[in-house]
Symmetry: C2
C-alpha cells in the first residue's frame, strides 16, 4: 500500500463461531478476502474468533486451544495480509509460555509484517465469562501501532468499559480504536436487561470516540453458544462511529455480515479543534487515577 | 433531615437568566421553594444561575458580578436550605481574592451548613465561551461531599467532557454526580451540528454514569442570550440518569421547568456487582494519564 490514506476503508467481520477451529479460520479467511475485494484497507476480526467462547466453562483442556504468536494462525494471516494488501487485526488465545496465557490480538501490516501484539489488560470474570481462569492480565500496556493505513489502537472487549484504556490509547496517537469483542446476553436476562445492556455497551464506546476525538469500531460475534437452556446469545451489533460519536455503519444482532465504513481522518482535526479536550486536560490533577478507591479516605 | 435516605428525591432547576441578577436570584428561590414543596431533598441550580452567561464577552466590568463564598447570595441560600430542609448545590461566579476568580459551586447541607466549594477544574475558551479570561482553573480537586442525603459529587459544564473528572469523583464515593451547566448552540451552526452536539453531550454524561455505576444529573439553562443575529441558544434538556445510563427524567429544550427524579441508591450496588469495573481497573497501568500526550514518543 501507499502512505497512510486520508480515508481508511475499514471492514468489521461479524461472524458466528463453530466448534471446529479449522472451520472458523477458513470462514474468517473467506470473509477477509471478500472484504478486501470490496475495497477494505483495514479488516478486524472478533475476539477469539478461532474458537467457541470457551470461557463459559472452566476446563483445563481448553488451554490446548492456545497458540503462540507468531504461530500457525498468525503466520497464515500474515500471508493473507500480504496477498490481499490489507492491514489485519487478528485476535487469538495466546500461549506465551507454559502456564502463561493471554487474550491477545496481533496487528499485521499490509506487507505481512507482525507490527505488534496487544494483550487484553482488563480481564472479566462473571457468570459464563470466566476469563480470569484462562488469561493473565496483559502487560502490553495501552498502545497505538503504526501501519500503512495509519495509527491503530487495539483494545479487547471488557477494556471497552474503562475510559482510562481509551484515553491512553488516544494519547498514544491512535486515529482509530478497534475493539474485538465477544459479548452476549444471558437468555434468561434478555427481556429484562437486554436492551439496556446493549445500549450501555454502545453508548460507552461512542463516548470514547467523543471524549478522545477518534474513530471507534467494535467487532462482535453472533449466535447462541452453550446449552439450549442457558449459554450466551452473542448480540452482534458491530459498529463504527466517528469522532463525534455518530454511527457510520452497524450490523444486525443475529446475522453474519461484514460492516464497511470509510473513515475520513480530517474529521479528527476538525472535531478536536472545535472541542479541544486535549488542550484542557488537568494533567496536574489526575494522579489519583492510579488509586483503587479514595472514598474511604478522611 | 434524617440519615441518608435510600431514595434521593432530586430536583433540577432549569431556568432562563435575565440581565438583572436580583431577578434571577428571586426566581431561583421561588423554584427551590416549589421543588421543596413537591418533595425534593436535593436541588441543583444551573451554572452561573445569577447572571447572564457573560463569558460571551471579555469585559473587565463583568468582574463586578463576582461574590465571595460565603457572601450575600450563599448566605441567603444557606437560610433557604435550612428553612426548606433541603440540600442545595448553588453555582456562583466567585471572587476569591483581588484578581482571583473562579467558576464555583457551593454545596449547602439541609441544616444550612456550607459543606464545601467546588471550583471548576476544566476551563473552556472557545467562540462565545471565553472563560479562560474570567476563571482561574480550580484547585479544589475532584471531591464528593457528605450531606444529609448522601455523598454528592459536583462538577461544572466543561468538566462533563473529561472522564478523568467523573472517575475521580466516583472514586471519592459520590453516589450522585451533578453537573451545573450553561451550554448552547451557536444559532448559525444549529441546523448542521446542533443535533449531534446535543446527543454527544448527553451520551458522554450517560457513559460516566455507566462506567462509574453512579447517578448523573445535568442542569442547564434555557433561552437565547446575546445579539439577535448571534449569541447562544442555551439548549436546556436537563436530565437525570441511573447507574445503567437510563434516563429517568428529562426537560425540554426551550422551557423553564423543574426536573424531578427519585434515585434509588440500592441500584448502585446492583449495577456495580453485575458490572464490577472498580474490581478490574488496572491501577498499575494508568500512570501516563498525567501526561499531556505520548503519541510523539518513540
Amino acid at each position: 500500500m501507499r502512505s497512510p490514506p486520508d480515508i481508511i476503508r475499514i471492514a468489521l467481520v461479524q461472524m458466528q463461531c463453530e466448534e471446529d477451529p479449522a472451520l472458523n479460520l477458513a470462514r474468517a479467511e473467506k470473509m477477509i478476502t471478500e472484504a478486501s475485494k470490496r475495497g477494505a484497507h483495514l479488516i478486524v476480526l472478533p475476539e477469539l474468533f478461532k474458537t467457541r467462547y470457551f470461557c463459559q466453562w472452566e476446563d483445563v483442556r481448553h488451554f490446548d486451544l492456545a497458540e503462540p504468536i507468531p504461530g500457525p494462525t498468525i503466520e497464515r494471516m500474515q500471508q493473507l495480509a500480504r496477498q490481499s494488501n490489507v492491514v489485519l487485526v487478528v485476535p487469538l488465545f495466546e500461549r506465551r509460555a507454559a502456564g502463561l496465557y493471554h487474550n491477545s490480538a496481533a496487528i499485521i501490516d499490509a506487507n505481512g509484517a507482525l507490527v505488534g501484539v496487544y494483550r487484553k489488560m482488563h480481564i472479566p470474570h462473571d457468570p459464563l465469562y470466566y476469563e480470569k481462569y484462562y488469561f493473565t492480565p496483559g502487560d502490553s500496556g495501552f498502545r497505538a501501532w503504526p501501519t500503512q493505513v495509519g495509527k491503530i489502537g487495539v483494545l479487547i472487549c471488557w477494556d471497552q468499559w474503562f475510559p482510562e484504556a481509551a484515553r491512553l490509547t488516544a494519547l498514544r496517537g491512535a486515529e482509530v480504536l478497534v475493539y474485538p469483542t465477544a459479548i452476549g446476553w444471558h437468555p434468561h436476562e434478555k427481556s429484562t436487561w437486554g436492551d439496556a445492556q446493549h445500549k450501555a455497551w454502545e453508548m460507552v464506546q461512542r463516548a470514547h470516540a467523543i471524549t478522545n476525538g477518534i474513530f471507534v469500531a467494535a467487532v462482535n460475534r453472533v449466535g447462541h453458544e452453550g446449552p439450549a437452556d442457558g449459554g450466551l446469545d452473542f448480540w452482534g451489533a458491530s459498529f463504527v462511529c466517528d469522532p463525534f460519536g455518530r454511527i457510520l455503519a452497524q450490523a444486525s444482532h443475529d446475522r453474519e455480515e461484514i460492516v464497511f465504513a470509510a473513515l475520513d481522518k480530517s474529521l479528527i482535526e476538525t472535531v478536536r479543534r472545535n472541542w479541544p479536550f486535549f488542550r484542557d486536560r488537568r494533567t496536574d490533577a489526575y494522579q489519583e487515577l492510579t488509586r483503587r478507591y479514595i472514598g474511604d479516605m478522611p
